[in-house]
Symmetry: C2
Subunit: 328 residues, 2 copies
Amino acid sequence: MTIRIGILGYGNLGKGVEYAVRQNDDMTLAAVFTRRDPASVKIMTEGVPVYSVNDAPAHASEIDVLILCGGSANDLPVQTPEFAKYFNVIDSFDTHAKIPQHFENVDKAAKASGKVGIISIGWDPGLFSLMRMYGNAVLPEGSDYTFWGKGVSQGHSDAIRRVKGVKNGKQYTIPVESALERVRNGENPVLTTREKHTRECFVVPEEGADLAQIEKDIKEMPNYFADYDTTVHFITEEELLRDHSGIPHGGFVIRTGKTGENSSNNHVIEFSLKLDSNPEFTSSVIIAFARAAYRLNKEGACGCKTIFDIPPAYLCRQSGDELRAHML
Amino acid sequence: MTIRIGILGYGNLGKGVEYAVRQNDDMTLAAVFTRRDPASVKIMTEGVPVYSVNDAPAHASEIDVLILCGGSANDLPVQTPEFAKYFNVIDSFDTHAKIPQHFENVDKAAKASGKVGIISIGWDPGLFSLMRMYGNAVLPEGSDYTFWGKGVSQGHSDAIRRVKGVKNGKQYTIPVESALERVRNGENPVLTTREKHTRECFVVPEEGADLAQIEKDIKEMPNYFADYDTTVHFITEEELLRDHSGIPHGGFVIRTGKTGENSSNNHVIEFSLKLDSNPEFTSSVIIAFARAAYRLNKEGACGCKTIFDIPPAYLCRQSGDELRAHML
């Protein structure tokens, strides 16, 4: 049984899904849908058609699970409920505050169509959410900590590039090692924003730009940098391309908690990711959940699900017997 | 709605369950069952009855989930299928090779009775199994590594105490830091037993014992120590009690994998535990899955389940709405 995957939106995430499908021999890429002129989109997999997004519903019978690879700000709030009318869908919606509303919208559409929609899949939200949940379930008397990085923040890199005199730039979010250590030692520290992460910026200035002013504008930028210890490095465009063209990321979810008589025993649960490519890893998580969406729908399930609702075994190619024999 | 918990077997694990129930305000301890004379067993929670294990079936209507706290070698293979005839049950069966057979036995009994039996719950098997599974599902091209420790191995401590001239002793399993680093760096090393863990023994000799002989007997003991770099420290009984009476444990599950064009991007998923009390943490995991057993059975589910089969949300007191709003 081969699961036929569709990709909607062919950017970094869509390409990542295309790579991930190749690593899973129970899946095949069936089609890519784009808002651009389909003739202008060249994909890596030979023989797979590229269609206009407008024609997607007409191809519903050719796709088992459609992966929505658009952005959370404008694309997914509209696309996920819309395409749940025709397809089992997965998205990586990551605007945490708007998840409840998004869930409602997708749930309504997917229940009406009899399809499964799994939202907010990736690593945060995604695997990190799952770790926060398991940690809380297992150690009810405890504290949660999430650190991000070292990794590229797209939003902060965009913010740098909007500064006057900046030609190009990249920003890394870096967890503060000493704060991590305090958490791991079970000190249960209350950490300010500044104490948890630092921000490191690599900036290509325009010719003749006022470097001191650029540095000041970045470091004092409210919301983005003012609350952090920020370092600014000026480099050439060449150096930026050579040393900073990757999209690494990662982070840490730590739950510390106490048990026993007088809560005298400490426990630390730590989950961490170190990722060379944020979009490729996110795609890999999504593809595992595409398998779950397919299976759940085959069993008759419909409506919106999150990572909290999916029995772990549904992500795996292996049978229950195989999982119990080899992974338990 | 209060979930009424029963404990069968009142050793370290049973006591841990008793502590864990106190941390979960949707649960209450309803009864303890023992193979000893019930009058001789003094528990911590006032007003809770202690019954003979033989009377357990007569109390089935008073218990929502029975936690089986016996040993994997002799107790659980018999007890879990037996008590699944009357109760929803959870055990921490940890003989990996015999899990498929145990699953079959419990499944048959629980399906006949309409109860839910969740087996092999704890951290390994348990949370570590889950991490191995998620890691494999997300990164199909990769390698798995499990390291244990630093922690007390009960089996190895028992082995030390059987050596001639040894009065008492404790053994710690310690992961080799340099091996961990190689794995984290994505080197995908092939590691021998000796390269992964060292063993450290604290031994109280009998008066006049031949220390050199004891050290030799321990270090050359097949299966237990011969394949490891082992250190033996001789200490007094006083020192053993003062410095080594805890039951700490922990470990690391690491999945490394590659994605993308030419598999050029590396990813590392790491999960680790640092536990002051192995039995209390195991009990805390069990209690979260007791909640899941209760809910699944209320919904009409029956039969044997493992950690792979349980939707994560079933472990939590919070509703789906609350989980999505606060943890996703």
